[in-house]
């Protein structure tokens, strides 16, 4: 399915200064029983977000009205653990367009790119600066420019470039998806199979 095109965003952010946020926290396993991709945003960070009675926990950032915006800023090693793409669906479903961290787990990175959510890997220093700006002003903004591969801490003007391979960038900018591309390679795949080692 075509994914949403990614354009430049400038937005306030939601800070989550915890390291090693794993996919079981992003979307606990008991919510994986669905057979569609809908509705995962409601259960994003469920066990951190709600108490046992299902009431919002006041001290969790998603329940704090001071913070809003379409970018999640998280501590290093975000998305480790399971391959569940439900984690990316939950983040996309909640309305995030990008996640900023100083380190991402591999599978999560792939999954989020495949769902139009941009993982922006920054240096530890940039991340620390960003958390500081948000601390000082919850309405601090970031600007993410995919075309030029730059992220800016709007409060300080500090800017950094980030990596993304040009194929994936092209997909995000244009809203293309990998499956259409792979389907166009039918003949090459059959030709590969003819010469492959098989027993």
């Amino acid at each position: 399915m075509p994914i949403d095109k990614f354009v430049t965003v400038q937005t306030t952010v939601v800070p989550l200064p915890i390291e090693n946020v794993d996919t079981d926290q992003i979307i606990p396993a008991r919510f994986l029983k669905a057979t569609t991709k809908d509705g995962f945003g409601d259960n994003l960070f469920f066990d951190w977000r709600y108490d046992k009675a299902g009431q919002p926990k006041a001290d969790f950032v998603l329940n704090n009205p001071i913070y809003s915006g379409s970018v999640l800023v998280a501590g290093k090693n975000f998305g480790s653990g399971s391959s569940r793409e439900h984690a990316a669906w939950a983040i996309a479903g909640y309305g995030f367009k990008a996640v900023v961290s100083s380190f991402f787990a591999d599978i999560f990175r792939n999954n989020s790119l495949n769902n139009g959510v941009l993982p922006v890997q920054v240096t530890d220093a940039f991340l620390a600066g960003l958390f500081k700006s948000i601390d000082a002003d919850p309405k601090a903004e970031v600007k993410i420019d995919l075309e030029n591969q730059t992220i800016t801490n709007v409060s300080t003007g500090e800017s950094e470039s980030f990596e993304i391979n040009s194929y994936k960038k092209n997909c995000l900018v244009n809203g293309y998806d990998d499956i259409d591309y792979l389907l166009s390679l039918k003949d090459e795949i059959s030709a590969y199979e003819k010469q492959a080692i098989k027993f």
Partner: protein, 467 residues
């Protein structure tokens, strides 16, 4: 040019290279299960296409199934719908499925190897991060997301950037009471859960070579827990011996040809890795985790790190983890009371694991304060455990053997550790709530789990069982 084992297999599976982009990688075997496949089938249906190579896809429901009364209808409606959806999707697309109650049903990463579906030199994917298990056979095996499951179903290919390569060498002989689970927990405790991110890891060295296939699978299984894309071990006689004669293994002349090819699957002597690490087997002791990620592990006779040994930037996260676990930094581990023991999962739910546990608890009794769940990784493991008398030994010691499935490893079914309770678990993840909301998981080997089960505490298996 000298090549690593990884290069040899990867390069021979590249259908196309995209400049400054991923490779189009051909997939030999694709395993699917009920949780991460329905949306992928939904996707190909919406495109009006069929599964491209159904005979290279194998399905088994495992994550979401009960481990008691499997002959009855699954009572949880959502779980039942998922399992039925898998069945329907497989039928519509001509995919072999080892469904509930089928003699070959089990956890996907246990089933693949025991059926001989997993073979050296293959590329193998599954919508499950512990697909890395299959790397123990000298294959490139890794977990993928559902979009990639859809790609693999639609075209038998996925798009993957080629990862960097790391080799981890472990030399020497393991001491008594130290298992492959301890090796991998030790490595992760050294390099952290992000230490392998971006890399594909080859495990090598004399300590690895001396391991059985099942022990090798345990190590590769948890390579994902250090962030690695996957782990692998070069195939050797141990590997060939294991694969030989299994249902899907090549036969007769084909077998000879296959082995001749598999023998070429080794890292060339002067091949270069992006990173190389060395450890001594003699330094490794029984391990246990104390925190909320698999890198938070310590030797069982040790203490939880003190707060001042933790990096300033990580202190908040560390303290959060301690609060969740109900432990204090600096605490001694041995002697802490536990409530549950879980033996099972794709990490340690194989026959050797059940044998080791049963041999240890034989003639002893389960501690009264402990609830134990012994869950075989597959129907075949269950059958074998009954045939070998393991079930009886367990029952005499006060344990019961459940039916196969992922069970309390991820608590999608009814096997949930209650809030606040401590579980010594042979699975692979100790994340907050992994084994049920509020559950507290301590990862360890089957031997250490046995020691916990008979003492009701964190205990050193070497002392308890005079190893």
């Amino acid at each position: 040019m000298a090549k690593t084992l990884f290069d040899k297999i990867w390069d021979s599976h590249v259908v196309k290279t995209i400049e400054d982009g991923p490779n189009v990688l051909y997939i030999d075997r694709h395993f699917i299960h009920e949780v991460t496949s329905p949306q992928a089938f939904g996707g190909i249906k919406a495109r009006g296409i069929q599964v491209a190579r159904p005979n290279q896809v194998i399905a088994t429901p495992d994550h979401n199934i009960p481990t008691v009364d499997q002959h009855l209808t699954i009572h949880d409606e959502l779980s039942r719908v998922q399992v039925e959806t898998l069945k329907k999707n497989c039928e519509e697309n001509g995919i072999t499925m080892y469904g509930l109650n089928h003699p070959y049903n089990g956890i996907v990463h246990v089933v693949g190897p025991e059926m001989g579906i997993t073979q050296p030199g293959m590329t193998i994917v599954c919508g499950d991060s512990h697909t890395s298990t299959h790397g123990a056979f000298g294959s490139i095996a890794f977990g993928i997301g559902t979009s990639e499951v859809e790609m693999a179903l639609a075209t038998q290919c996925i798009m993957q950037p080629k990862p960097k390569k790391m080799r981890i060498n472990i030399e020497g002989t393991l001491a008594n009471g130290v298992t492959s689970k301890d090796i991998i927990l030790y490595i992760i405790s050294k390099i952290s859960t992000g230490g392998g991110t971006g890399y594909f890891v080859e495990f090598a060295g004399s300590a690895i070579r001396s391991l059985s296939m099942e022990a090798r699978m345990t190590i590769c299984n948890m390579s994902i827990e250090m962030g690695a894309r996957g782990g692998m071990i070069a195939p050797d006689e141990t590997t060939f011996e294991y694969v030989k004669g299994r249902e899907y293994a090549p036969q007769g002349e084909q077998w000879e040809k296959a082995v001749a090819y598999w023998k070429t699957l080794v890292t060339d002597e002067d091949a270069v890795f992006d990173k190389e690490l060395h450890y001594e087997a003699a330094d490794i002791e029984p391990m246990i985790t104390y925190g909320t990620n698999p890198g938070m592990g310590e030797k069982i006779v040790g203490n939880i790190p003190t707060l001042d040994s933790i990096d300033a930037s990580s202190k908040v996260t560390f303290q959060k983890s301690m609060d969740y676990m109900g432990f204090a930094p600096g605490d001694k581990l041995e002697g802490k009371q536990i409530d549950y023991v879980f033996l099972g999962s794709c990490t340690n739910g194989r026959i050797e694991d059940l044998r080791a546990f049963a041999a240890a608890v034989k003639g002893r009794k389960k501690a009264d304060n402990v609830t134990a769940w012994i869950v075989p990784g597959s129907k075949q493991v269950e059958k074998q455990a009954i045939a070998e008398g393991i079930k009886e030994v367990l029952e005499e010691a006060g344990f019961e053997l459940r039916q196969p499935g992922c069970s309390a490893c991820l608590a999608m079914n009814d096997d949930k550790i209650p809030e606040g309770k401590y579980a010594v678990s042979t699975s692979n993840r100790n994340f907050e709530g992994r084994q049920g909301p509020g559950s507290r998981t301590l990862l360890a080997s089957p031997l250490t789990a046995a020691a916990a089960a008979v003492t009701g505490t964190i205990a050193d298996p070497r002392t308890i069982f005079n190893l």
